[in-house]
């Protein structure tokens, strides 16, 4: 774990450390926590590194890197007995730290920086060079765990390239000094080691966070128009797209989220694949627009990166509180699909599916992401694009439209069909003129309050959900992992997936068999499958990052099946592997029916 005041380089040191470990073939999961503040407040990054695959963070800290007093005060109790604490001897005497049971490693940051400045004749820049504290702490950490220096060297050379290439030798020099110091004086006393993993030739791994994963999925999925109004933690996604103009995505920063969604709908009307990304407060503003898109059968894709609400809530902290809202946001009834990806692979592939569904069913698709994965960094396999395909549904080419008109006379945008889905033209096409309106309308799109038409139009639109429920394969709707006849069935959605999967391994080692039902497509709800699994489950427990167990409510509504117990958390901090283990044990051993988790700083 590395901490410091926001803006002091915590993120970049964490990133450097993670990359160096990943370059050694190790599996990395990083979690970023920060205040709603720009400079000054405490922030930290927790990196878990393992020789085995991992998908979550844990509570224990084995090595804590500090530069300031606050990090020490906030986090020192999280360090395990025998763990290491890096500290600045100009701030503390060892006995002041109050952890005699830990290996305390003083790092004379300023001395190393001064020596580096001298070596490179940069003494006059000494203030600017203070940022090298980050590299120094990373180097010491790598030295302690026994990873080769060349991993760090290569990583630094990759980071400091192009315009910043001149900085590489200096950073490498300082890192070397710090690394050697750690190896010589402390490595033998530090109990935790990491070993490079030999990487099979066929293996390619990438490392990124959730917002980058969705951005890349959107690019592959053919998104051509993205709107956003700045909001944590969603903006990173749009900014990534904006910084890669070569992808050809038009990114528009709108004046508010009402404009964000309506611009995206306007673009979608013209045939561009369009989306917008936001977080709770913005998603609330988008409600009316969602309804218009539903009413007019416009394929628009909305990503909601959930964060702790209500209102501004904990704007930089995690929660899964928007599920029920997403299922019903906007007045009236219209079809929508709601997806809840649970890891960085699903973040990517769901972005592609979301556009396919939106166009196939000609209706809005909402993807529920969250702060936890948006700001988590993970090593994952290279995205495999075999089998990825684009489905534009009944979008008509000019030729198809001409054929349709010659056989049917006039074109009707909202033609009543068996599936409820009507062939779709776009402005500019000959003979494809349509009207769209938020009012109830007839087949060509003109306003009508005729009761019979109303009855039929509602059926036409809503029917598309049934079609989606039939067509979408079960493996896209749910994941069911683990022994069929486990002692306990954990039911969840979204980013808890990683912690649950990791916890299942730990539980197994302790003789507790858990399986996991991840509801991935929440609307249309995979009722049959969920009912089948749950009716056979020994003990049904929902694990959710919200107060009221929203998925459990949905499941009960759809299947009639209640949960036996709930494991819930809403303190704004993502669930850890330990917490899932603890929660399961409390349910099974203490017979608790509602476990409220509270870990995290």
């Amino acid at each position: 774990m590395i901490g410091g005041w926001q803006g002091s380089g915590v993120d970049s040191s964490a990133n450097t450390f993670a990359r160096a470990c990943a370059a050694g073939g190790l599996f990395v999961f990083g979690k970023r926590e920060y205040h709603s503040n720009i400079k000054g407040d405490h922030s930290y990054f927790q990196i878990r590194v393992s020789e085995e695959e991992i998908h979550s963070h844990i509570d224990e800290v084995h090595l804590l890197a500090t530069f300031d007093k606050e990090t020490m005060e906030v986090h020192k109790q999280e360090v395990v007995k025998g763990g290491g604490i890096l500290y600045d001897p100009s701030l503390f005497k060892p006995e002041e730290i109050g952890r005699p049971d830990c290996l305390l490693i003083p790092i004379a940051y300023s001395e190393i920086i001064q020596a580096t400045a001298k070596e490179f004749h940069r003494e006059k820049d000494i203030m600017k060079l203070q940022i090298m504290k980050n590299v120094i702490s990373v180097a010491v950490s790598l030295g302690l765990v026994g990873l080769d220096f060349d991993l760090l060297k290569t990583t630094l050379e990759e980071i400091f390239k192009g315009r910043r290439a001149a900085l590489a030798p200096m950073n490498v020099w300082a890192a070397r000094k710090a690394y050697d110091y750690a190896v010589k004086d402390y490595q033998s006393e530090y109990p935790h080691r990491l070993k490079r993993r030999s990487i099979p030739a066929s293996e390619r791994r990438i490392m990124m966070n959730g917002t980058t994963a969705t951005a890349l999925g959107k690019v592959v999925g053919g998104c051509r128009f993205q709107t956003y109004y700045p909001i944590t933690p969603a903006s990173d996604e749009s900014e990534y797209l904006e910084s890669h103009p070569e992808f050809g995505v038009v990114v528009i920063q709108s004046e508010d989220e009402i404009a964000a969604i309506t611009m995206a709908i306007g673009a979608a009307v013209t045939g561009a694949r369009a989306s917008t990304s936001t977080s709770g407060p913005g998603f609330s503003l988008m409600a009316e627009g969602l309804g218009w898109a539903g009413m007019n059968e416009v394929p628009v894709v909305v990503f909601n990166y959930q964060r702790a609400g209500p209102s501004t809530g904990l704007p930089t902290r995690h929660e899964q509180g928007d599920l029920k809202f997403a299922l019903s946001a906007s007045h009236g009834e219209f079809p929508r699909l709601v997806l809840a990806p649970g890891d960085l692979e699903e973040y990517f592939y769901d972005a592609i599916d979301a556009f396919n569904y939106a166009e196939r069913y000609q209706t809005p698709v909402i993807v529920l992401c969250d702060k936890a994965l948006a700001n988590s960094t993970e090593t994952i396999p290279w995205y495999d694009l075999d089998g990825v395909h684009i489905d534009r549904g009944l979008l008509l080419s000019d030729e198809e439209l001409a054929v349709l008109i010659s056989s049917e006379g006039t074109y009707k945008r909202f033609k009543f069909t068996e599936s409820g889905i009507s062939p779709r033209s776009v402005p500019g096409q000959r003979g494809g003129i349509f009207w769209k309106t938020g009012d109830e309308h007839n087949e060509v799109g003109h306003i009508t309050e005729d009761p019979e038409n109303r009855t039929k139009m509602m059926i036409k639109r809503m029917k598309k959900l049934d079609v989606a429920a039939r067509e979408i394969p079960i493996e896209k709707k749910v994941n069911f992992i683990g022994d069929r006849d486990a002692d306990i069935t954990l039911v969840s959605w979204g980013s808890t997936k990683g912690a649950i999967l990791d916890a299942m391994e730990v539980l197994k080692a302790e003789g507790i068999r858990a399986n996991f039902l991840q509801v991935h497509l929440i609307l249309p709800f995979p009722t049959e499958f969920v009912a089948q699994v749950l009716s056979r489950a020994r003990r049904r427990v929902n694990v959710e990052m919200n107060y009221s167990g929203q998925l459990a409510q949905v499941i009960r509504e759809k299947t009639g099946i209640p949960m036996d117990a709930s494991i819930l958390k809403w303190n704004g901090r993502a669930i850890s592997q330990n917490e899932v283990v603890e929660g399961v044990k409390r349910v099974l051993k203490e017979q608790e029916s509602k476990v409220v988790l509270t870990h995290g700083t």
Binding site: R205, E246, A259, I265, G266, A274, P427, H446, I447
Partner: protein, 326 residues
């Protein structure tokens, strides 16, 4: 075959009150499009919600009757996704200057090549005549229980401050003049605001046709005559709205000042016509500089896949390589 106004009509049922100024504006739109010989399929109209907002249903082009106050952002999205279309955004005074005021201002920052035409009748027609943002203070129309307590905004002055590059006012019953202004607004390469004074005989019983045109009944013949017309055409006074050198900041300041002053005239004399015009790079131009693919395609027409195999067209190998760790 040359297009006629008739080609821009639809058979959708029109439920505006008899004598509504919206009819005049609708006709002018249809005639303007016909005179410009724009293909109906290349035109995309957006409107918000209000009496006026039914207009797209009566025009035989692609049309979207959207949400109250949101015509502009819908139109912006469509225009940026497919700049080849002639996109026209229609607003109401309540719709565009009230609930949609944020979009009115912010669209001014973007200079899209698009016309924004606002049906300005001083009232919220469709909700039965409440005061709109352009109704002057202390005026009491028939439908108001008490005189209007708010001051009015001046949309032309606001547009000037917001960055619109073509600012004009028209009048619903001035068929020829209005047609010309619509065409000028469409032809202007940039964002045009055309505020159209639109009598609402049902609710705005003050700013009526008679009031605007200074119609008075001739006692002897019983015929209404324009005795004291309030409206006059700017162009007939030698007023030059155009910034001839967009690099000359002094000229810009002078033309803006003149437009601002003219926009303040109201009451006995009300100017119509073009108040201000400047040609500047459009948002579409700026986007093309940013996103190279837009030089060749629009967002709406850029290929995203191989139609036969469904294979995505965009290759992210390079981006993934940047993220590769082992």
């Amino acid at each position: 075959m040359a297009l006629k106004a008739q080609d821009f009509k639809t058979d959708a049922h029109n439920d505006w009150c008899p004598g509504c100024g919206d009819f005049g504006i609708l006709n002018a739109i249809q005639q303007a499009l016909a005179e410009m010989q724009l293909s109906p399929e290349q035109v995309l109209l957006f409107s918000g919600v209000g009496c006026f907002a039914k207009t797209p249903h009566f025009v035989n082009t692609y049309g979207c009757h959207t949400m109250h106050g949101r015509s502009l952002p819908f139109a912006v999205g469509a225009k940026l996704a497919n700049p080849n279309l002639t996109v026209i955004s229609l607003g109401g005074d309540g719709d565009g200057y009230g609930i949609g005021a944020g979009h009115f201002l912010n669209t001014g920052r973007r200079n899209l090549d698009m016309l924004y035409l606002v049906f300005d009748n001083g009232v919220y027609g469709l909700t039965k005549g409440q005061a709109s943002p352009t109704l002057k203070r202390d005026i009491q129309t028939k439908s108001l229980p008490t005189p209007n307590i708010n001051d009015a905004i001046n949309p032309l002055a606001v547009a000037l401050a917001a960055g619109y590059t073509f600012i004009a006012r028209g009048y619903a019953y001035d068929g020829k003049g209005l047609r010309g202004l619509i065409q000028a607004g469409i032809n202007h390469r940039g964002l045009a605001l055309l505020d159209v004074l639109q009598p609402c005989p049902t609710y705005n019983t003050i700013n009526t046709k008679e009031w605007f045109e200074g119609l008075e009944m001739d006692e002897e013949t019983g015929i209404k005559k324009a005795a004291n017309p309030r409206l006059y055409r700017l162009e007939e006074t030698g007023y030059d709205p155009v910034v001839h050198d967009p690099n000359n900041s002094q000229e810009i300041a002078q033309k803006m000042l003149q437009a601002f002053q003219k926009s303040q005239e109201w009451g006995e004399k009300i100017p119509v016509g073009v108040f201000y015009q400047i040609t500047l790079p459009t948002y579409e131009d700026r986007l093309k500089e940013r996103v190279p693919a837009l030089k060749q395609y629009t967002a709406a027409t850029m290929p995203i896949y191989d139609r036969e195999s469904g294979t995505p067209a965009v290759d992210i190998t390079k981006a993934l390589s940047e993220l590769r760790v082992c």
